[in-house]
């Protein structure tokens, strides 16, 4: 995991350095254009801090050591240190992603189980059909359609995570309830594709397992069908289900970025897009870095879970 994050940091740094020109110059030019003068001392401090005159590896070294001290660089469009900007947004990103993951799991488990045990029933066909549509619809498209429908039929626009009056208020029970009221839309939007994928995986695995000889063995022991279903095939079909949590989580994080942009959520997505468009590269790079780290952690968690649920892996 540590080497992965190290390589990751290099890639992120390359992305930060990709835009042509040095952004200090464009920053100064931008400030001047806005009528603000930047003092030469400040320019010197910034130049020294980020090592602009120095070769690439020195710049990288300055950046990465800064991160260990909690200094992620400076956002020039916000005129604030990146560290101050990203945490609340990363926190909400994590909140949305984890709630979506839980939603995805519960829904796909229930539907997958139903589909597999009622193969070729109307419900199964319906689930398969909705699953296919869910896989084929881009997140942002679903968000746009939901927004359009709610605007057209209920007369309000569903965006953001908080109502206006709570947006900048300190945390309270009322704010939490307000958050929950808004949360379900991004959960559905970014969870649908993942849910559809997981339903298909679970259904296929479960159908596979239901035909295995050990199911017959359990039957000949006199175990009831329901108990067999949950003790054996479901348990075993859950292994790939759980092992995919890594990529499900990764794709949720990835997908939530675009959902958040359309729904204008106060999460990483919109600020990342904004930062990329204004070439505010330390901010953008930090977001990409942390989103990637979340993915790496997700993969790690799924490896650990896999070892817990599959004894065959544990003993290897």
């Amino acid at each position: 995991m540590v080497p992965t994050i190290l390589v990751l940091s290099i890639v992120v740094f390359v992305i930060i350095q990709l835009p042509p020109g040095d952004w200090l110059t464009s920053y100064v030019a931008g400030m001047r254009a806005a009528g603000d003068e930047v003092s030469p001392e400040r320019i010197d401090i910034l130049r020294e801090r980020y090592g602009f005159d120095q070769p690439m590896h020195v710049k990288y070294f300055k950046w990465i050591t800064g991160i260990f001290r909690g200094d992620f660089g400076f956002s020039f469009s916000w005129n604030k240190p990146v560290g101050e900007l990203i945490w609340s947004r990363m926190g909400l990103t994590l909140l949305v992603s984890i709630s979506t993951l839980i939603f995805t799991w519960i829904v796909s488990f229930a539907i997958g189980l139903y589909s597999a045990t009622h193969q070729y029933s109307i419900g199964d066909y319906l689930a398969t059909f909705i699953g296919f549509i869910g896989l084929a619809t881009p997140n942002f498209m679903l968000a746009l359609i939901l927004m359009y429908l709610s605007f057209e039929f209920f007369g309000y626009s569903i965006s953001g995570l908080f109502s206006y009056e709570y947006a900048n208020a300190p945390w309270s029970i009322a704010k939490l309830i307000d958050l929950l009221k808004h949360l379900w839309i991004p959960i559905i939007v970014s969870g649908t594709a993942g849910t559809a994928g997981l339903i298909r995986i679970l259904r296929a695995n479960l159908l596979d397992e239901l035909g295995k000889p050990y199911v017959v063995t359990a039957k000949t022991k006199g175990v009831s069908n329901l108990k067999i279903l949950f003790k054996y095939p479901v348990r075993i079909a859950l292994i790939p289900f759980i092992s995919t949590v890594g990529w499900t989580f990764a794709s949720l994080i990835s997908g939530s970025v675009i959902t958040a942009i359309v729904l204008n959520l106060p999460t990483a997505g919109p600020m990342l897009l904004q930062a990329l468009k204004t070439q505010d590269m330390y901010l953008a790079g930090s977001f990409i870095f942390f989103l990637s780290i979340l993915t790496v952690i997700g993969t790690l968690v799924s490896d650990i879970l896999l070892a817990i649920v599959d004894p065959r892996i544990r003993y290897k």
């Binding site: 992965t4 390589v7 990751l8 890639v11 992120v12 992305i15 990709l18 835009p19 042509p20 296919f132 549509i133 896989l135 084929a136 619809t137 881009p138 997140n139 942002f140 498209m141 746009l144 359609i145 927004m147 359009y148 605007f151 057209e152 626009s157 965006s159 990529w247 990764a250 794709s251 994080i253 990835s254 997908g255 970025v257 675009i258 942009i261 359309v262 990342l272 897009l273 990329l276 468009k277 070439q279 953008a284 790079g285 977001f287 990409i288 989103l291 990637s292 979340l294 993915t295 790496v296 993969t299």
Partner: protein
């Protein structure tokens, strides 16, 4: 059958061909049974024909705008005018009124204006297949306008724009998958056949690439493309960005197939009679899982299409004047715009249909390719 393939002389190679064709026949036979996949093939054929000959099928130049028709709603081609049958289909004209309170322009159908539709109509010039300049369109109207799918906020014909957008959106899947395929099969093959440190290196790279979330990575790279790049450069750069992670899945699949095939008797016997490694890979190993690869390719194309659409939608992908389905959807970002002109979401419907069709096709191919599943 396998033993025959190992022997390399003229007569037996013929046998090999007979064997191969029967394998493909089997695949085809099984594929035909998959009704959804067959429908998907038809749908995709239509979409690709429309996109290849987009200039001919679209009534207007996609950049041709008319301020008088901003956000004009879709029209229906009709045969009946107040119950009276016309052999030549026609469209009704628009009546535009400005709402005195909101100053918003609204369009209503004006039944007094009737514009007949002419086929093989001479309109805007375009380059047929990119070579010959011509001005013949499948259909068009002489007076008024024909907006079968409405107009965009600049008063451009959405139908024409969708067809032109299809050219980029559907081809990027193919080009991207071709890149992924080449990379995946080469690196996966090397990894699986040689093993050792090179396998180790490639596997670590794949694991690493897989750990970066798609969209932020694409956004980061998409944003880094120089703004002065031309349409073609951006197109290939975007394809490259999308393929950056796409090859990893393919490589893993190829690797595991190579690992298991390496142990098979027919590969061993080919090695024993002194066939070169390259020849073994190309002639003996590749054909035995080509059908699998084709199936996973057809499942990779829709992912590419979705990726391009997302990137362009965010304004980090295909840039104007180039048109893709994603960039068309950019104009539909605000809920107010959509509620005024919901037809702006139509390019998204095309995305969904295309992706669905590819998924069904891929499923059908996968089932057909694997007789033992």
């Amino acid at each position: 059958m396998e033993e025959k393939k190992a022997v390399v002389n003229g007569e037996l190679l013929e046998d090999e061909e007979i064997y191969m064709s029967s394998q493909w026949e089997l695949v085809w036979k099984r594929f035909k049974k998959h009704r959804l996949a067959m429908i998907a093939v038809g749908v995709l054929a239509v979409i690709y024909i429309l996109s290849i000959f987009c200039g001919f099928f679209s009534p207007y130049d996609p950049h041709n705008y008319d301020k008088g028709y901003m956000n004009a709603p879709p029209q229906r081609a009709r045969f009946f005018d107040e119950g009276e049958f016309n052999l030549r289909p026609f469209v009704y004209g628009y009546q535009s009124t400005r709402d005195p309170e909101t100053f918003r322009e609204t369009f209503t159908i004006d039944k007094s204006k009737k514009y007949p539709i002419y086929f093989f109509y001479r309109g805007d010039t375009y380059k047929f297949l990119g070579f010959f300049e011509t001005d013949i369109h499948l259909f068009g109207v002489k007076e008024g306008k024909i907006f079968l799918m409405g107009a965009d906020p600049m008063g451009r014909d959405l139908f024409s724009r969708i067809l032109y957008g299809a050219r980029i959106s559907t081809s990027i899947g193919f080009v991207g998958v071709f890149l992924s395929f080449t990379l995946g099969i080469t690196l996966g093959g090397i990894s699986g056949y040689y093993g050792g440190w090179i396998d180790m290196l490639i596997q670590r790279t794949i694991e690493f690439l897989k750990s970066i979330p798609d969209i932020p990575l694409w956004m980061g790279l998409g944003a880094a493309l120089p703004s002065d790049w031309g349409v073609i450069q951006v197109y290939f750069a975007i394809t490259l960005i999308l393929s950056l992670k796409g090859w990893t899945g393919m490589a893993r699949e190829v690797r595991s197939k190579f690992m298991s095939l390496k142990e098979e008797d027919f590969v061993m016997s080919a090695e024993l009679i002194g066939a070169s490694k390259f020849r073994i890979i190309l002639h003996h190993m590749l054909p035995s899982f080509l059908s699998h690869i084709i199936a996973s390719l057809s499942l990779a194309i829709p992912r590419m299409i979705l990726g391009e659409t997302s990137l362009s939608f965010l304004g980090l992908g295909i840039r104007p004047p180039a048109i893709s389905w994603g960039s068309l959807l950019q104009s539909a970002q605000k809920v107010r715009v959509i509620s005024m002109a919901p037809w702006l979401l139509l390019p998204g419907i095309f995305v969904i249909i295309t992706v669905l069709a590819f998924n069904f096709l891929g499923d059908g191919l996968r089932d057909a390719a694997d007789p033992y599943s």
